[in-house]
Symmetry: C2
Subunit: 337 residues, 2 copies
C-alpha cells in the first residue's frame, strides 16, 4: 500500500470501522472505546497517517496564519519570545499576526475575537495580569482552533503549555545570594494571581528555608513596575533593619532598584546585592551590570510555536496535555557579591 495514500477512509476500510469512528478515535472522542482508539492509533502510526491539512483548512475555513496574544510589547522577554515564534513559524511556512492585550482583560477578550475573525489556524497566548475569567480561551478550544499557552499559563483551560521553570530559577538565584554572604534578602514580586509570580515566590522562600533563613513577610513586596520601585524601595531603605540583597521579579525593577540604592548612598554589591529576572539587554547597560536569571525566551517561543504547528498538522497526537518546561540559567554579573 502506498503510504502517501493513507486516509481516514482507508484506515476505516482496513479496520472494518466507519470513517467517522476513525476520525473520532483520532481525536480521542469520549464516545469511542479505549480498545478501538488503540487499534486506530496503532494502525495510523504503522502506516504513517497524516491528516490532510489543506482539507482541514478548507473545511474549517482557516488560513495558514497563527495568531499570538502577548500581554506586553515593551517587555524584552516577550519580544524575545516573539522572535522565537517567528523563526519557528517561518520554518513551517506559517504567517503570524500579533495582538497586544496590554495587561488588560477586555483587550485580551477582544484579541481572541479579532484572531478568530481573521480566521487563524492556531493561537499562542500568554495571559494578562488582570485576567480572572477564561471563557474567551475556552471559546478557542471549542472552535477547534489549536491553542498553546506560553509563560503565563491559564490553569483553568485544558490545553498545551510551555513554561519556564520559574521556581528553579528563583531558587538558584536566591541560593546564590545566600552563598555569597547575603542574609536579609528582600523580594520585589508580582501580583500573585499568575502562576509565574507564585512559582518565583516559592523558589525564593524555599531557598531561604534550605539555608535555614527565616522567611520574613516584611521583606516581601508586590513591586513589579517602575513607579512602584520608586515608592517601595525608599521605604524599605528607611527601616531599622535594611536588606543586604534585593531579588527582583524582572530586570526593569532591578535596574531602577540599582539606581535608588546607589542614590541612597549604598554600594552595590558591597553593601547590597541586586538580582533581576529575564536577562534583557538593560542588564548590560546599568552600572554595575546586573546579575539575572535568563529565561531563554527565544527557546520558549520556538518550542511553543513548534508544539502548536504539530497540533495543527496533526503530528503531535498525544491526546492529553503536553507541558514543556524551559530551563532557566543564572547569569552572574557585577551587581551581586
Amino acid at each position: 500500500m502506498d503510504k502517501r495514500q493513507i486516509t481516514l477512509k482507508s484506515i476505516a476500510k482496513a479496520l472494518n470501522l466507519s470513517p467517522s469512528t476513525v476520525s473520532r478515535a483520532m481525536k480521542d472522542h469520549p464516545a469511542i472505546s479505549a480498545k478501538t482508539k488503540a487499534l486506530v492509533r496503532e494502525y495510523a502510526e504503522k502506516y504513517k497517517y497524516k491528516p490532510n491539512t489543506l482539507a482541514i483548512r478548507l473545511r474549517t475555513n482557516r488560513n495558514n496564519t497563527i495568531g499570538v496574544i502577548v500581554p506586553e510589547v515593551v517587555h524584552f522577554f516577550f519580544s524575545t519570545v516573539l522572535a522565537g515564534i517567528q523563526e519557528e513559524t517561518e520554518k513551517g511556512n506559517y504567517n503570524i499576526i500579533f495582538c497586544h492585550s496590554n495587561e488588560d482583560y477586555e483587550r485580551e477578550v477582544k484579541s481572541v475575537e479579532t484572531l478568530l475573525d481573521a480566521r487563524v489556524c492556531g493561537i499562542l497566548a500568554s495571559q494578562s495580569k488582570t485576567t480572572a475569567s477564561f471563557e474567551h480561551f475556552q471559546e478557542i478550544v471549542d472552535s477547534n482552533i489549536a491553542l498553546v499557552f506560553f509563560d503565563r499559563i491559564c490553569t483553568g483551560i485544558n490545553t498545551d503549555k510551555v513554561v519556564v521553570d520559574d521556581y528553579a530559577g528563583a531558587f538558584k538565584a536566591v541560593d546564590y545570594l545566600v552563598q555569597t554572604g547575603c542574609r536579609q534578602i528582600a523580594f520585589l514580586g508580582m501580583n500573585p494571581s499568575l502562576p509565574i509570580s507564585n512559582n518565583r515566590r516559592m523558589g525564593y522562600e524555599d531557598a531561604l528555608r534550605k539555608n535555614k533563613i527565616p522567611v520574613d513577610k516584611d521583606f516581601m513586596k508586590v513591586c513589579d513596575v517602575a513607579e512602584m520601585v520608586h515608592k517601595v524601595v525608599p521605604e524599605i531603605l528607611k527601616r531599622d533593619k535594611i536588606p543586604d540583597a534585593f531579588f527582583c521579579i524582572n530586570d526593569e525593577v532591578a535596574a531602577y532598584c540599582v539606581q535608588i540604592v546607589k542614590a541612597s548612598g549604598y554600594r552595590i554589591p558591597e553593601d547590597i546585592s541586586i538580582c533581576g529576572f529575564t536577562n534583557s539587554y538593560i542588564t548590560e547597560v546599568t552600572d554595575p551590570t546586573l546579575t539575572t536569571v535568563d529565561q531563554h525566551g527565544f527557546e520558549m517561543g520556538k518550542q511553543a510555536a513548534r508544539l502548536l504547528i504539530n497540533r495543527i498538522e496533526g503530528t503531535e497526537t498525544k491526546p492529553g496535555i503536553v507541558s514543556k518546561v524551559i530551563k532557566t540559567e543564572l547569569v552572574v554579573r557585577d551587581s551581586t557579591r
Copy 2:
C-alpha cells in the same frame, strides 16, 4: 431633509448627476471634472454626508480590523507608537493586529499578504531598514485599502504619512551640545536608505555649520546596534583626535556608548557628552542618566491611527496626501555638560 438620510443617491438626485459620478467625484477620480467634484463636495459637506461604513465593509469584504506593520518590537519607540495606535483604534471601535517585519524585506512583503488575507480595512506601516522595493505597499493602495505610513515612510508610494521632525530634533540636540562647549561631535548614525537617517544626519550637519564647526566625515559612522557600538566606539577612542561628544541615532546605542566611554577612563559629561534619541526608559537607568530627543511615539501612533480611521470612514476627504509632523523635544539629563 433629515441629515442622517444623506446618501450617494440623494446627492445624485439633488445635483442631477448619476450616483456613480457622485461616488467617483467623492473619490477624486480623474475622469470627473474639477467643477463637478467641487459641486459634489460642497453639497456633501453642507449636508454632512457620511459614507455607510458597514456597506463599504460588506462590499469590500473587509472587517473592522486595522493591521499594523512594525519593523522592530524590542524597540521602545515602536512600542510606544503601538500604544498610541491602540488607544486611538479602541476609541474608534476598531481592532488591531500587528505584523513584525524584523527589519526584513521578505517578512514585510509577507506581512502585507497576511494582513490583506486577514481582510483588514486599513494598514499602518513603518518600513524595514532593508526594504528597497515597494510593490507590496502599492498593492495595498491598489486594493483600495487605506494605508498610512508612520515614522519610516516610503517616499515612493503616494499615501498619507505621519513623521517626526527628525531634522529639527537632531539640530536642536547637536546645537545644545555646541552651546554647552562641545566642538568635536561624533555622529553614530544609521543606514542612509531611510529618510529618518538622512534627516537626522542633515540636522547634525546643519547644526555644526550654523556654529561654524567643520563637518568631519571621520566623525560620522553607521553604528545603530549594540554589536556595532562595541566595534566602532573603541576605534574612535583610540585615535589621536577623540570626540568631546557623541550624538547617537538611538538610546540603545547611547547606553552602550556610555558604558564603553566610562570603561575607557573618560568622565561623562566632563570629558565626553553623550546624547541619545527616542527617550526610552533606559535613559533613566544608565549612569549617568541620558540626555535624549523625545520623539513622542505615543502621539505619533494616535495621529497615524486617527488619520487612517478618517480615511476608512471617509471623514478625511482631502484628495491629496496628508502629511503630519510630530514635534520632538530635547530632554536634558546628566550625560551632557
